[in-house]
C-alpha cells in the first residue's frame, strides 16, 4: 500500500488511524496531529452515538414469532407476542431459582406470571400444529383438547417444554409438557388453582386449573399417552 492509499484509508476510517497507532508512533506525533486526532476521536464518538438509534423492544422475538407462524412445522407456536418478554424473564427467574423448587411450584409460578394467557381471546390454534410440535419434544398427545387458546415453547424444570392453554367447560386449563420426569402421579393446589402432575415415558405433564373437574376432564383425555 503506497502513502497515498494509506492516507486515503486513514481519512475514510479515522477510528482505525487512532486504533492502529502504537506507543512509538504516538510519541512521534506533533501537537498539531495530536489535536487533529483528538478532534476526530471526539467526532467519531458523537457519530457513533447519533447513528446507534434505539431498536424496538422485542424485535428479535417478533421476527422469530413471524417465522414460527409461517413455518409451524419447524417452529413452536406462539400465540401472543406480548407474552414473549414475560416468558423470557420468567425463564431466567425459573432457571435461577428452580433447583430449590419443585416442578409443581415452578408450574404454578409460571401460570401466575402469565395470567394473560388464561383470558378468552375468541380464537383457537390449530391442534394438529400443536401436536406436531409436541411430538418434537418426544411426546404424543392424541387426546389433546381441540379448543386451544395459547401454545408456546417454554423452559420448565430446566428443560425445554411447552405451555398450552385449552378451554374446557368454558374455563381455561393450563397444560405444561416438561421433559423433566417425576416418579409418581400427584395432586397439588394453592389458594386459587388446583393441579395434577403425572409421569409419561419422556417426562411429565402438569395440568392446572381452578376447577378440579376441568382438570380431571383434561387428564381423562390426555392420560392415554
Amino acid at each position: 500500500m503506497d502513502e497515498l492509499e494509506k492516507k486515503r484509508r486513514e481519512l475514510a476510517s479515522p477510528s482505525n488511524e487512532i486504533h492502529n497507532l502504537n506507543e512509538a508512533d504516538f510519541n512521534d506525533l506533533s501537537e498539531k496531529d495530536l489535536e487533529r486526532m483528538s478532534v476526530n476521536y471526539k467526532f467519531e464518538k458523537q457519530l457513533e452515538e447519533a447513528i446507534t438509534i434505539e431498536v424496538p423492544e422485542n424485535l428479535a422475538d417478533k421476527i422469530l414469532l413471524n417465522q414460527a407462524t409461517q413455518h409451524p412445522g419447524n417452529f413452536f407456536l406462539y400465540k401472543s407476542t406480548l407474552s414473549i418478554a414475560a416468558s423470557v424473564a420468567l425463564m431466567i427467574f425459573i432457571f435461577l431459582g428452580m433447583q430449590a423448587e419443585k416442578l409443581t411450584d415452578i408450574a404454578l409460578a409460571h401460570v401466575y406470571h402469565e395470567l394473560d394467557h388464561l383470558v378468552e381471546t375468541g380464537s383457537t390454534i390449530n391442534a394438529d400444529h400443536v401436536r406436531a410440535n409436541i411430538k418434537q419434544l418426544g411426546f404424543d398427545l392424541p387426546g389433546l383438547p381441540q379448543n386451544i387458546s395459547y401454545a408456546g415453547k417454554c423452559t420448565i424444570g430446566n428443560k425445554q417444554g411447552m405451555h398450552i392453554v385449552v378451554r374446557v367447560n368454558n374455563n381455561p386449563v393450563t397444560l405444561f409438557i416438561s421433559s423433566d420426569r417425576v416418579d409418581d402421579k400427584n395432586n397439588f393446589n394453592d389458594n386459587r388453582f388446583n393441579g395434577k402432575i403425572y409421569p409419561t415415558k419422556n417426562g411429565s405433564i402438569i395440568i392446572i386449573g381452578e376447577s378440579v373437574q376441568d382438570i380431571e376432564d383434561v387428564y381423562g383425555q390426555t392420560k392415554t399417552i
Binding site: R8, A12, P14, Q46, I63
Partner: protein, 170 residues
Amino acid sequence: MSTKIRQYENLVRSFYKPLYRYAFWSCKNKQVAEDLVQETFTRAWKNLNQLKSLDAAKPWLFTILNRENARRFTRKQLPMIELSEEWNLQHIADKNNEIDKIALQRAIMKLSDEYREPLVLQIIAGFSTDEIAKMMSLNSNTVSTRLFRARAELKKMMFSANVKVGEKNG
C-alpha cells in the same frame, strides 16, 4: 430444536440490531425499517443452506437487506402518507438525546444516500472499506472517498448549525 432453527435463532439475535439501524438510516422510517429486517430474515431462512460459515453471515445479511430495500421500489406500493423528516427526527430523538446528537442525526438524514449508506455500514456494522466496496459493488477507492466526504459534509453541516444557533442567540 433442529440445527437449522438454532442457527437461525442465533443469526436473528446476533444481527437484528445492526440490521434495524442500517435499515432505518436507509429508508428513514421506523415501520419500514422493521418490515425490512423482517423480510431480510424471512429470505435468510429460505436460503440458510447458502450460508457457508458464520463469518460470512454479517455481509450476507446486509446484502440481503440492501436487495430487499431496493425491491421495495419495484413492488406495487400501497398508498403511503409521506412523513416529514422532522417527524422521523422526533421519533428517533428520545428525551435523553442532547441537542448536538439530534443536530447530528438531522445532518445524517440530510446526507445523500451514496454518502450515508457506506458511513452507516462502517459505523454500525464495523465493515472495512473493502467489505463495503464488495457489498455495494464499488471500487474501494470510491468507498474511501465517499466515507471521507460523508464526514466532511457532516462536519460542515454541524458547523453551519452551530453558527446559526450562535447567531440566533447572539
